[in-house]
C-alpha cells in the first residue's frame, strides 16, 4: 500500500470520526432541549442560568486538545509528502493550456500519458509555461501547483500497476476540465523498454517559452497561438485550435467535438 495514501486516509478518517461524534452530540442535545424545554413541558424558564465558568473552560480545553491531535495527524502525512527519497527517479512536469507534458531523465518526452515503473519512488519537478495549473493524482492523494516562474516539487511511490487519472486542479481557462491525463504504471521491464525507445515527438512542438504581455487567444488569429514568445497574441478561447494534437493524448477528440459546434 502506498504510504502517503494511507496517511491521508487515516488522518481523514480520524478527523471525520471526531466530527461526526461532535455533530451528533450537538444536534441531539439541541433537539432534545427543544422538546424537553418547550413552553408546554417547561412553562417557567430557569432565569438563574446565565453561564458557567467550568463548562466554558471544559469546552475550550477539550476542543483544543482534539484539534491539536488533528493538526498532528495532518502534519505527519505532510512530512511524508515532503520527505522526498534521495534516490527517487525524476520526471519534469510542465503544464500548458491545456495539456500535460512530461520529460524523463533521458530527455524522453511524453504528453498526457505519464508512464512509470511499478514499485519505484518518483519525484516530480512541476513547472508551467503560461498560467497556474495544478498537478493532481487523486489515487495517490497528491497535488501541487505548477506556477509560472518557479519550480515546485512532489513525489509518490508507484505501488501497484494500473492506470490512474491525472487532473488539473487549478482553474486555467476554457479547457481546464479537459486538462486530464493518465498515470500508467507498468512493470519495470516494460517501462524501461518504453522509456528507451527513440522519441518520435519533438519537444519544441508542444512546449514553448512563456509569451509576454497580454496573451489571449483570439478567433481571428489562430495561427499565432503557438508563435514565438516576443509576439503579443490575443487568444480568445472558444474557437482556438487546441495546441494538443498528438495521437496519444486521450482527451483531444472530445475537445475537438466541442469546438465544432461553434
Amino acid at each position: 500500500m502506498n504510504q502517503i495514501t494511507e496517511l491521508v486516509d487515516n488522518s481523514f478518517i480520524f478527523t471525520v470520526t471526531i466530527s461526526v461524534i461532535l455533530l451528533v452530540g450537538i444536534t441531539a442535545a439541541m433537539i432534545y432541549f427543544v422538546f424537553r424545554y418547550s413552553e408546554k413541558n417547561n412553562p417557567k424558564p430557569d432565569q438563574s442560568i446565565t453561564g458557567s465558568t467550568t463548562l466554558e473552560i471544559l469546552w475550550t480545553v477539550v476542543p483544543v486538545l482534539l484539534v491539536l491531535a488533528m493538526f498532528f495527524y495532518g502534519y505527519e502525512g505532510f512530512r511524508e509528502m515532503r520527505n522526498i527519497p534521495p534516490n527517487a527517479m525524476l520526471v519534469k512536469v510542465t503544464g500548458k493550456m491545456w495539456f500535460w507534458h512530461f520529460e524523463y531523465e533521458n530527455k524522453k518526452t511524453s504528453d498526457t500519458v505519464l508512464v512509470l515503473p511499478a514499485g519505484k519512488d518518483v519525484r516530480f519537478e512541476l513547472q508551467s509555461v503560461d498560467v497556474i495549473h495544478s498537478f493532481y493524482v487523486p489515487a495517490f492523494r497528491v497535488k501541487e501547483d505548477c506556477v509560472p516562474g518557479r519550480t515546485n516539487h512532489l513525489w509518490f511511490h508507484t505501488s501497484t500497476e494500473g492506470v490512474y487519472d491525472i487532473e488539473c486542479a487549478e482553474y486555467c481557462g476554457m479547457n481546464h476540465s479537459y486538462m486530464l491525463g493518465k498515470v500508467k504504471i507498468l512493470p519495470e521491464k516494460e517501462f524501461l523498454e518504453w522509456v528507451n525507445k527513440v522519441d518520435t515527438v519533438k519537444k519544441s512542438d508542444s512546449v514553448s517559452a512563456p509569451p509576454t504581455g497580454n496573451v489571449k487567444t483570439d478567433s481571428t488569429n489562430n495561427s499565432q497561438v503557438k508563435t514565438d514568445s516576443s509576439k503579443t497574441t490575443q487568444v480568445k478561447t472558444d474557437s482556438t485550435k487546441s495546441p494538443v494534437k498528438k495521437p496519444d493524448s486521450l482527451k483531444v477528440n472530445r475537445k475537438d467535438s466541442i469546438k465544432k459546434n461553434k
Binding site: 502517503i4 491521508v8 481523514f12 478527523t15 471525520v16 466530527s19 461532535l22 455533530l23 450537538i26 444536534t27 433537539i31 424545554y37 417547561n42 412553562p43 417557567k44 424558564p45 432565569q47 442560568i49 446565565t50 453561564g51 458557567s52 466554558e56 469546552w59 484539534v67 493538526f71 495532518g74 502534519y75 505527519e76 502525512g77 505532510f78 515532503r82 498560467v131 497556474i132 493532481y136 487523486p138 492523494r141 497528491v142 497535488k143 501541487e144 501547483d145 509560472p148 516562474g149 518557479r150 515546485n152 487532473e167 486542479a169 482553474y171 481557462g173 476554457m174 481546464h176 476540465s177 479537459y178 512563456p210 509576454t212 497580454n214 489571449k216 480568445k236 466541442i258 459546434n261 461553434k262
Partner: protein, 563 residues
Amino acid sequence: MANGSLAHEVSYLKYEGKHKGIAGWLLTLDHKRIGLMYLMAILLFFFVAMTLGILMRLEMLTPGETIMRPSTYNSVFTLHGVIMVFLFIIPAIPAVFGNFMLPIQIGAKDVAFPRLNLFSWYLYIAGAILAIVSLFTGGGAADTGWTFYVPYSIRSAQNVTMTTLAAFVLGFSSIVTGLNFVVTIHRLRAPGMTWFRMPLFPWALYATSWIQVLATPIIGITLALIILERLFGIGVFDASLGGDPILYQHLFWIYSHPAVYIMIIPAMGVVSEILPTFSRKDIFGYKQIAISSLGIALIGYLVWGHHMFVSGMSDASRVVFSLLTFLVAIPTGVKIFNWVATLYKASIKFSAPLYYVLAFIFIFSIGGLTGLVLGALSTDIHVTDTYFVVGHFHYVMFGGMGIMFFATMHYWFPKVFGKMYSEKIAIIACTVIIIGFNMLYFPFFILGYMGMPRRYYDYLPQFQGWHVLSTVGSWVLVSGIVFMFGNLLYALLKGPKAPMNPWGGTTLEWKVPSPPPLENFEEIPVVTGGPYVHDKPTYIMHPGKEGLNGNGVVKTANQENAI
C-alpha cells in the same frame, strides 16, 4: 432633518419629509430606509446568482455539453461567485439589518454619519452597475473565478478589468459602512448602555466593522494592481515580467480570509438575538460570545495561508498556517456550545425564526467540521480545489450566513414591515430548504474526496451519480426558497398587522412601534441592565417623563448632533 412631533410618531415607511415619493427613498438619510434599499438590491442579486447556480447544476447533470459551452460555464461560475460574495453575502446582514437595527438596538436615532451611509449605498449600486456593464462590454463576462488568480486574470481576453473595478468600488462601500458602524457604536450608545449591556448583534457588527475597515483596503490595492498589470504590464505579479504570482495569492487571501468572517460574524450575532428571545431566558455565556467575536476577528487575520497549501509556499509556513487555522476553530466552537446551552432549562416557543436558527446550527456545524479536514495539511492537499472545498464553503457561507439571512428576515419582518407572515408555511419552507440543501451540497464532499476538481465544465464518468443527486437537490432547494419568499411577499401585501413585540423580545427594537417611527424613539431611553433579561425591565423608555433627564442623566450631545 425633520423634527417636531411627527418624526417620532409616524412610521418611517409613511413619513414624508423634504422629498416625497421615490425621491423620499433615493435621497433619504434615514438608516431604516437605506437598510430597505439595500434589501431590495441584495435580494435582486441573490435571485440572479441563484439562477446562475441552478444553470451550473443543470450543466453538470450529464458529462459533456448539457446546456452550455465551456467558456459560458466559466463565466457563469465567475459571475455566480462574484455576485454571491461581493453583492450578496458581504453586505447582506450588516448593510440591511445592521443599518436597520443597530441604531435602534443601542438606543440611537440614526447612525453617526447618515450622509455617508447613503453614499455607501450609492457606491454599492455603482459597483453593481459596473459589474453588469462588464458583462456586455470588452471581451464579455469575466471568466477568472471570483478569486481573479494571476496570471490567468492578466491574460484572459474577457473583460476582467471592469469586473475587478466593480469589486474595487464595492470594497469602498464596505469600508464606509464599517467605519460608520464603528463610530456609531463608540459614540451613540444610549446612556447606561455600557459595552457589556450591549446586545450581541451590535457586538458582532462591531467586530465585523473593524475587519471591514482594516482588511478591505488590501483587496482594493490588490485589485488595482491587477488592473494596472492588465493595462500597463507593470510586472508585479506576472512571472514573465519578473513578478510573482504567489504574491498575488497572499494579498488576495489576506483580505479574503478575514472576509469570510465579515460574512459569518453578523450571522452569529443574529443567532445570539433569536435564541434568548424564543428561549425566554438570558443567553448562556454572554461575555464569552461577545469576546469570541473579537477573538475570531483577530485570529482570522493570521490564517490566510490555508488557502495556499499547494501553491508552493514554504513547508514551514504551511505548518504554521495549519496550526493557526485549527486555533481559529476554537472560538467558533465555543459559540456553538453556548448557543445549545442556552436552550437548557429554557421555556422554548417554537417558531419559524428559531427553526431557521436550529437549521443553521446543524448545517453550519457540518461546514465548520469539514473545515477541519481542510485545515489539516495532508488531507487538504488531497481535497483542496476539489468539490470538497465547494461543499465546505457552501455549508458555511450559504448554510451559515445565507440561512441566517433567511432567519433574520423572519425574525425582524414584523418589525421592519409591521406585518405578520404565516408561521406554518415558513416552517414547511424551511424543512424543504434543509432537505434540498443537504441533497445539493452533501454529495460535493463525496465527489471531492473521490477527486472531482472544482470549476470543471466536464467530468469523468465515475462522478455522474453524485452529480445527478446534487442537481435534483438544487431543484428541491430552490422550490423551498421560492416558497419561503412567496410567503413573505404575501404577508407584505395581505398579512395581518404586527404588534409591537410579537415574539416577546427584550432588546430595544421590540420597545418601539412596528414599523418604527422615523426617529425611532420619542426620547432616548436609559439602560439599566443587560440585554436579555426576561424577568425585569432593563430599559427606561421615557426617562424625561420619569424625571430622569433632570437628574443628570443627560441625553448625550453626540446623539443630538448626529441627527
